[in-house]
């Protein structure tokens, strides 16, 4: 290849030069290969050196014990016999190695069973075993800990992926992969004769073979080809993408990852149990507390919630850190995450290597470490709502340890990057310029102070503003799940309910008279309808309301007993069906004419039905209504919205909240819309069902029972609100009695 010794294309950006060759990119990021504008030759030389050192290590540590034993001198026997307790003896090492091997094999047999076709093959397992054993023997103070194999496996995987890419390219561009041992690219077909052009023209796929020129190639393909060249610097040992030396490369990557390449974050630290010098805690515990510290800055309420429940960070953070989130994400996702992690620099930001005491959290002392902690925090935040909803530590831990599989990785990483600022701040009390603030700010020198404080406060503010909404929303949703599922006009309802809920809470505290009066209920019904309909239904109702406005208004002002006069149609139904003239009653087709005990229940029933107008409100069918409303039976028709009974639950609550001040003021206008809704509601069922007489009664009983049920539930909900006045409590008792009556009917 003509350009094998030249510079790589200048248009490739420095940092992410090899974004399609993860193995090479990660090797650069981890510090094994030189980065930034080094030539292919440099890469090859460094690769060759690292491979040589690995080979020497392997030879030294894994040679057969017997061979060396022959040369051992006599002094050794007391020490070197098989039963020797001396750990330095050859036999001691032999047994130690046998133990390590047993542990490693145990772990390897369970490695990535879902990708077993690669990881469970004997070849791959052998490579992994050798690498792990060698590393553990080389660094005896760490020993082998479970989890190291999971750090190593993706490294081997990306090397393999690179090789596969290479073979793809090879197949595709096989013309370019000629063996150019003379430094020229020869093709057997072409002679040096001038006839070649003419003769070979038709055979080619458009490429003149004697004009093979790298300039036609995509620069990435160019690099791949140059990486597989066997005749560059260092010959075969220097082939950057080499299958033969995969083990060597994987070992160097693993070593660099564990040692942290003299940076702040060395994975090996997560595995050591010995307490660090500064504060007597094992490093992983310290890292976990850094994590919680960061969380407390970003989201104090979640932090306090977790602390109150007694969820210590290391319960889940241990696993997250030790295998660098390997267990939380699928392999493909994990590779993306690790791309981000490795892209960040691992140099220490503060404190020279001698004086470590300046830094409170060692893990935050580099961008890479800061990103790791921020990613952990963003993962916790992702689970925020479900964590806040649980009340015991075990389920919290369960949620944290079973991170959902279908997660939006991009968002998670973005969030992590935004928290990163806070992370690096957390170790500094004094503002200081921080270099390399991360790839998303590449090129811009990051100056602390203003920028940071702004982002800090905005982050905190953003976090704070998130708190009340999401928490209450969650609570609300929990209570509303059933209705939500069934509702058609879901969004409107929810909005309304939320408003109603908060208002209800407010109102309850103000209630001075017994809410269980007909007046009250009527008012509530009306105003509640108003509220909802006005807010929810927008323009559709207006024309209808104008038609009925005149008849309606007097009703709105009158007390319950006078209310029936607004609308002739409605009056009829009122009088015929219920003793009391509550407008609410009209909405209750489910209850036929029945004696007074059922009045209140009717009311409630109807209030529940109030919810139903909304879904059908878009269908104005006044004509139908005018004709049919006279028919009593229509009222009794099984409502479309029987299933909305539960949704009506909250309208009923709303009614409660709408007492007093609101009741009287809004009556005139809203009642119209209420009326129209009622119209429509009635119209629809009438159009749908033909059978009028039989069904209602059966349905009635069921309805009553459901009604009682929902009443009870509502009562319970209300009772859970704090600071209920005595009146309220009495009222609730009354309601309970009523619901019991209902259920007996």
């Amino acid at each position: 290849m003509p350009s094998s010794s030249g510079e790589l294309s200048a248009d490739l950006e420095n940092n992410r030069r090899f974004s399609d060759l993860r193995g090479v990119q990660w090797r650069i990021d981890l510090g094994i290969l030189p980065s930034s504008s080094s030539t292919v030759d440099d890469l090859r030389r460094v690769t060759a050196n690292s491979r040589r050192s690995y080979a020497a290590l392997r030879r030294k540590l894994l040679t057969n014990r017997l061979i060396s034993k022959d040369e051992s001198n006599f002094r050794g026997l007391v020490m070197d016999n098989p039963l020797s307790q001396n750990p330095d003896s050859m036999w001691g090492r032999f047994f130690h190695k046998a133990e390590l091997e047993k542990m490693v094999d145990q772990d390897l047999s369970r490695l990535y069973p879902e990708h077993g076709s690669y990881f469970q093959t004997t070849g791959c397992q052998g490579v992994l075993r050798r690498i792990l054993l060698l590393w553990c023997i080389r660094y005896p103070n760490y020993g082998y800990r479970q989890g190291m194999h999971e750090l190593l496996a993706p490294l081997l995987y990306v090397l393999q992926a690179d090789l596969e890419r290479l073979s793809e390219v090879r197949k595709q561009y096989q013309d370019y992969f000629t063996d150019n041992f003379d430094g020229l690219s020869f093709n057997d077909d072409t002679d040096l004769s001038y006839k070649s052009d003419l003769g070979k023209g038709e055979d080619n796929t458009g490429i003149q073979k004697d004009e093979i020129n790298d300039n036609y190639l995509d620069p990435k393909i160019q690099t791949i080809i140059s990486f597989s060249d066997a005749y560059g610097a260092e010959g075969e040992l220097g082939i950057v993408l080499s299958e033969k030396f995969m083990e060597h490369d994987a070992y160097s990557m693993f070593d660099a990852l564990m040692n942290g390449d003299r940076g702040a974050v060395a994975m090996a630290n997560f595995f050591s149990h010995s307490p660090s010098t500064q504060n007597g805690l094992p490093p992983v515990i310290e890292a976990s507390s850094a994590l919680y510290h960061l969380l407390s800055i970003v989201d104090l309420s979640l932090y306090t919630h977790l602390v109150e429940l007694g969820v210590e960070p290391q319960y889940f953070a241990l696993r997250w850190f030790r295998v660098l989130f390997g267990r939380e994400f699928a392999l493909e996702d994990l590779l993306v995450v690790w791309d981000e992690i490795f892209a960040l620099d691992n140099n220490k930001l503060r404190g020279s290597s001698e004086n470590e005491s300046e830094v409170t959290f060692w893990i935050l002392n580099s961008s890479r470490g800061a990103f790791i902690s921020s990613l952990a925090v963003s993962m916790i935040l992702y689970l925020r709502s479900s964590l806040l909803a649980t009340e015991n530590a075990t389920s919290c831990l369960q949620r944290l340890l079973n991170f959902p599989a279908d997660v939006n990785l991009g968002k998670l990483i973005e969030k992590a990057k935004s928290i990163m600022n806070l992370a690096t701040d957390a170790i500094n009390s004094i503002p200081e310029p921080i270099h390399s603030g991360g790839p998303y700010e590449a090129g811009k020198p990051k100056v602390h102070g203003h920028g940071h404080s702004r982002s800090l406060s905005s982050d905190v503010a953003a976090a704070a503003s998130l708190v009340p909404e999401s928490y209450w929303e969650e609570k609300w949703r929990v209570l509303n799940t059933e209705e939500d599922r069934k509702q058609v006009g879901l969004s409107k309802q929810v909005q309304n309910r939320i408003k109603g809920w908060s208002e209800k809470v407010k109102m309850l505290t103000k209630v001075s008279r017994s809410p269980v009066t007909r007046n009250l209920v009527d008012d509530i019904a009306r105003s509640e309808k108003n509220e909802k309909l006005v807010s929810g239904n927008g323009g559709g109702e207006e024309e209808n309301s104008s038609i009925f406005s005149d008849p309606v208004s007097p009703r709105g002002l009158a007390s319950s007993n006078n209310m029936t006069n607004n609308n002739d149609h409605e009056n009829e139904t009122d009088r015929s069906s219920v003793a009391s003239n509550s407008p609410v009653n009209e909405n209750n087709p489910c209850l036929g004419p029945s004696p007074s005990p059922s009045i209140t229940s009717e009311r409630y029933c109807s209030t529940e039905d109030i919810g139903s107008p909304l879904p059908v409100s878009d269908v104005p069918e006044e004509d139908l209504f005018l004709k049919e409303v006279k028919n009593e039976d229509i009222i009794r028709k099984p409502m479309l919205n029987l299933r909305d009974r539960r949704s009506g639950k909250f309208q009923w609550l709303w009614m409660f909240s709408k007492t007093g001040p609101e009741g009287s003021s809004d009556k005139s206008e809203p009642t119209t819309s209420y009326v129209t809704d009622f119209n429509q509601k009635n119209a629809v069922p009438s159009s749908t069902t033909a059978d009028e007489t039989e069904k209602p009664e059966v349905v009635d009983n069921n309805n009553l029972k459901n009604l009682a049920q929902s009443m009870l539930e509502n009562i319970e909900v209300i009772e859970s609100v704090e600071n209920l006045s005595k009146d309220t409590l009495e009222a609730l008792k009354e309601l309970r009695k009523i619901s019991n009556l209902l259920s007996e009917m």
Partner: protein, 188 residues
């Protein structure tokens, strides 16, 4: 790399109370794959202790053994080697090499392990190897009072066996080793 412990003639509790402390500290479970015991333990507790060191335990009957179910002789194949086991009081004259060689030919083994004399011996002759691990507790024998505690550990590796001898002389553990190689077809 199979480690085989050859031990015997402990005579616990009659002639000795227990193994010497230094021996006991060396014998830990997990390292040894087989134990062959010449006999005269004498009680079940010693049997259990040896069993705890290694589950694969082979014993032949000595004249003072309280468990009468042990066989008189035993042959085991470990790797490429055939080992024969016998207490030795049956072979008269006691400890005589030629008689032991006769027994070895009878059993058709490469290595014969026998005891009873309470003296460590390791002979190689054209038919094979004869090993006497001595008495692990240093119990007196019918022949002599002056007995050094000793036992033998064999490292069988392919066609080669390395015999480590552990003796307690003057309170110190002394280790010696002997190499034996087997030619593939013939016996040692």
């Amino acid at each position: 790399m199979v480690l085989v412990l050859a031990i015997g003639d402990l005579h616990i509790p009659h002639r000795a109370a227990d193994l010497p402390a230094k021996f006991k500290s060396m014998l830990v479970p997990g390292k040894i794959q087989h134990i062959i015991c010449t006999g005269n333990l004498c009680i079940k507790e010693v049997h259990d202790y040896l069993k705890s060191l290694c589950p694969s335990l082979h014993i032949t009957r000595g004249e003072y053994d309280e468990d009468s179910r042990y066989p008189e002789t035993k042959t085991i194949t470990i790797g490429q080697f055939k080992l024969g086991l016998c207490h030795g009081h049956q072979v008269v004259p006691w400890g005589d090499l030629d008689s032991l060689a006769m027994l070895q030919r009878q059993l058709d083994v490469d290595i014969l392990v026998s005891g009873h004399t309470h003296q460590f011996k390791a002979y190689k002759h054209e038919a094979g190897v004869v090993i006497n691990p001595g008495s692990a507790t240093g119990a007196y024998s019918s022949i002599t009072y002056d007995v050094n505690p000793s036992f033998v550990l064999m490292d069988i590796d392919g066609l080669r066996v390395v015999v480590y001898v552990y003796e307690l002389i003057d309170g110190e553990v002394k280790v010696d080793k002997i190499d034996f190689k087997k030619t593939s077809t013939a016996t040692l």
